[in-house]
Structures are given as structure tokens and as C-alpha cells.
């Protein structure tokens, strides 16, 4: 197995704590309840980027693992007096555990965490198995549902396909038509959509808002300095350009049609606030993953960096989530500006971009102490938002 020796492997956590650093409690607990997927998307960080740990884990999370993890969450919430925690059911494709598996998982969670913190349960699905029976169950259990779709059918099917090459759009669109109906809409959390600079950004946005999602989350494809993103066409910042087109379409609409997570967070940062997303800004990341075998891991998107990048060596049967709070990889993501490379600190917008999404900083040798491989794209979209907002705020100031 290839191991990075770069930062933050050598982070001196004991010294940081001795000098006043206090870890932030976890709020988001990602449960990998099923390791396999019924799609074979070509950009998936779980299966296509060199990490094959999914092969060695149980296909589905066993009830005793769910119970142990839920009890650890209750313990963590009590220790830190948290008023709310969120469990995100994830995979693979989490709906592959089936209706009874889902019901049992949610029941176990609610039973263990009853009486303490408020428990929110969400699921992130590719939508292929999301039919009325499944939605009825998710509604009964109060599960928030996020679906992945990359825009119009032809665009979605460029990457999001079955193993036999068929596109998934038709099935996902059927699911979204149901989920956005009045009956199921209360459980609709939003749409995840990977940015492809070869698609029409406005067309993609308009294809998604047909379903009236409360939020669209546009994600930059996973890449790093050893595996840079595709940059088709003459532009040096195709992802930034793409997001600017979406921003202008969204920002200039006569009504706020939906939330766009990355743009809402950039707006909030530009106005002086803090980000609630791990993709931009310097807010401490309070996410932890429980794998199907009960292993406690850092965010699983780290798999896009190198095999085993998310491992902590901890397990819900023997270790608490407080133990994970002292892992160098977890601490590194709660250090704010202290986790930025020197080249970032000299940049005027480093507090806004926060060096971007952590996995996108990785480079073999130096680890994660680098600027984002999307640095130029992030700079471009942030500068654009700053410029648009500055003009509008100046007008408000003048009117007042």
C-alpha cells in the first residue's frame, strides 16, 4: 500500500492541545451502510481512484455495528452536550440494503440516540432504487433524501452509467419526479451534481431546477496535484468559468429559485460570515465516517488522494469518537488558517477559499499542505462573486 509521509502525518497533536487547541465535536456521522453500487460512474472516488478497501469490507453494515456506532454517537453527543447530530446513510449505494435494512438501521439509531441530541437522518442516493415504496418508508422514518444527477439526461449519462454502459438518467428522473411531488417533497434534501466543464452550465442548472430542489450542490470532480482535473478547451479556469455562468443565472433571477450550496457559502464568506461546507472557507470540519465493518475513518473522499488515506486505526467497538478527534488527519481539518500552506497565506482570499476542498490539495511527498489544484478556478469564481456583491452593496449603502 502506498503511504504518504507528507503533512499532516507528522502533526504534533499533543503539543497543539497543550498549547490550547480544543477539538470540535463531530456533528455529521457518515455511515457506509452498503459498499457496492448499482452504477459504475467513471469519476467515482470509491471505486475508480485506486482505493480498493471496499472489496475487503462487509457488503452491508451489520446490525451490531449499527448499534455500536449509534451508541458511540449518543456517548459523543452527551460528552459534548450537542443539541443535534446528523447521520448520513451513504455507500456505495445505500438503498441497496433494502427497505427492511433501512428501517432497522434508522430504528437502531433512533433507539440509541433517544432522549439526548436531536437526531437528523439523511441518505445520499443515486436514485435508481427510489420508488414509491422506498419513499413511503423514508417518509415514515423521517429521512431526508439527497439524489445525485448531473443535469440534462445526455450530460448525466456521460458519466453516470450502469456497468453495461447504459445511462442512468431515465431512472433518476423518474425518482426525482416522485421526490419533488407534494407527497414526498418534505423529505427532499437536494440534488448533488458534479461539474463537467464540457456541459452547458445554464442548461445544467435549468435541468435541475425543474425538480424544485431546496438545494443544489455542485461538486468539483475529485482531483489533486498528482491527478489534475481535465481542462478541456482554451480556458485556464474552465471550472471557475462554469460556476460563474451558473452564479449569474441564479443571482440575476427575479426570485431565489433554490439554494446553490457552494455559491451560498462563497456569498456568506464574501459578506464576512463563515462557511458550512468543507469545500470553501476555514470552518472546522466536524465529519467522521463509520465504515461497514465499524472502522472509524476520516471523510471518505480522501480515498481520491491515495489508498488508505482516510484510515484512523480506530473502531466503534473499541474506540470512542473522542479518540478520533485526536487523530492528526482530523485535527488538521480543524486548524483553520494554521492548516494552510505558505503560498496560501500570502494570497488575499485565503480565508474565503480556505485552500478549497482538502482532498484537492494532495500532492505525493508534501501531503495536504498545498494550495488546491482548483486554486485558479476558485479564485476566479470568488473574485466574480466579490465584484457582483460589492456593486449591489454599494447601491444599498448609497440608497440608505
Amino acid at each position: 500500500m502506498i503511504r504518504s509521509r507528507g503533512w499532516p502525518t507528522d502533526l504534533d497533536v499533543a503539543s497543539l492541545i497543550a498549547n490550547g487547541f480544543q477539538p470540535y465535536a463531530f456533528r455529521d456521522f457518515v455511515f457506509k451502510i452498503h459498499q457496492r453500487c448499482n452504477l459504475a460512474c467513471d469519476y467515482c472516488y470509491v471505486y475508480t481512484m485506486g482505493d480498493s478497501s471496499w472489496r475487503d469490507r462487509p457488503m452491508a453494515m451489520a446490525p451490531e455495528v449499527v448499534r455500536a456506532a449509534a451508541q458511540r454517537i449518543a456517548e459523543h453527543a452527551e460528552t459534548h452536550r450537542l443539541d443535534e447530530v446528523r447521520v448520513i446513510l451513504h455507500g456505495g449505494e445505500p438503498l441497496m440494503v433494502g427497505r427492511e435494512g433501512l428501517r432497522a438501521t434508522v430504528s437502531e439509531l433512533r433507539s440509541a440516540i433517544a432522549g439526548g441530541a436531536r437526531l437528523r437522518v439523511a441518505i445520499q442516493t443515486n436514485g435508481v432504487l427510489l420508488d414509491e415504496r422506498m419513499l413511503d418508508l423514508l417518509g415514515e422514518e423521517g429521512v431526508e433524501v439527497g439524489v445525485s444527477l448531473d443535469g440534462a439526461p445526455a450530460d448525466n449519462d456521460r458519466h453516470r452509467r450502469y456497468a453495461d454502459g447504459r445511462g442512468s438518467a431515465a431512472a433518476v428522473e423518474r425518482a426525482l419526479a416522485l421526490l419533488s411531488s407534494e407527497r414526498y417533497r418534505p423529505n427532499f434534501a437536494g440534488i448533488l451534481s458534479a461539474v463537467d466543464p464540457e456541459t452547458d452550465p445554464v442548461g445544467t442548472y435549468e435541468a435541475l431546477i425543474r425538480y424544485r430542489p431546496p438545494v443544489i450542490d455542485f461538486l468539483l470532480p475529485h482531483a489533486n496535484w498528482n491527478r489534475p482535473p481535465a481542462r478541456p478547451g482554451p480556458s485556464l479556469t474552465p471550472y471557475g468559468d462554469w460556476l460563474i455562468s451558473v452564479f449569474d443565472r441564479w443571482y440575476d433571477a427575479p426570485v431565489r429559485e433554490t439554494g446553490i450550496r457552494i455559491l451560498d457559502e462563497i456569498l456568506n464568506l464574501v459578506l464576512g460570515g463563515a462557511s458550512r461546507s468543507e469545500h470553501v472557507g476555514l470552518s472546522p470540519v466536524t465529519v467522521v465516517v463509520v465504515e461497514s465493518d465499524g472502522s472509524i475513518e476520516q471523510v471518505d473522499t480522501l480515498r481520491a488522494s491515495y489508498p488508505g488515506a482516510g484510515e484512523t486505526g480506530l473502531h466503534v467497538a473499541t474506540d470512542s469518537f473522542d479518540d478520533a478527534l485526536r487523530h492528526p488527519g482530523v485535527v488538521a481539518r480543524q486548524l483553520g488558517v494554521r492548516a494552510l500552506a505558505a503560498e496560501c497565506l500570502s494570497c488575499p482570499i485565503h480565508r474565503l477559499c480556505g485552500a478549497g476542498h482538502y482532498p484537492h490539495r494532495y500532492s505525493f511527498g508534501s501531503g495536504f499542505l498545498n494550495r488546491s489544484v482548483y486554486c485558479d478556478d476558485l479564485s476566479r469564481i470568488i473574485a466574480h462573486v466579490q465584484s457582483r456583491v460589492a456593486i449591489d452593496l454599494e447601491r444599498l449603502s448609497v440608497v440608505g
Partner: protein, 62 residues
Amino acid sequence: MSETTGAPDSAETRGDAVPDVTRIPLSQLEPAENPVLEAAIRRLVDEVTDGREVTAQFGNSP
């Protein structure tokens, strides 16, 4: 600190190009012509008023 809302003075965060939004009276937001910006300012004001710790959530679910 802003005298209007108690928000932290974060000019360093915003960059020089953006005025201090926390100094704009809330009543002035009513005629704002941009609903996206208005919602963003209201969110910020709510967060400042609420005073809760802001942390970053999982990026692979909305």
C-alpha cells in the same frame, strides 16, 4: 465589532472590495432588488444574532 448587529468586524475576511454588510440597517434590505443577496444577508444576520458555532458539514450530501 459592528455597532449595528454585534457581528465581528471581518474586513480581512471579506477583502477590500466589499463594504461591511453588518453596518447596513436591516430595514434597508426590504427594497433590495436581489432576492439571492437579500437571503444571504439575512442568513448572515441570523447567524451573528444566533451566535452558534459554525462548522463545516459533509460535502457529499446536500
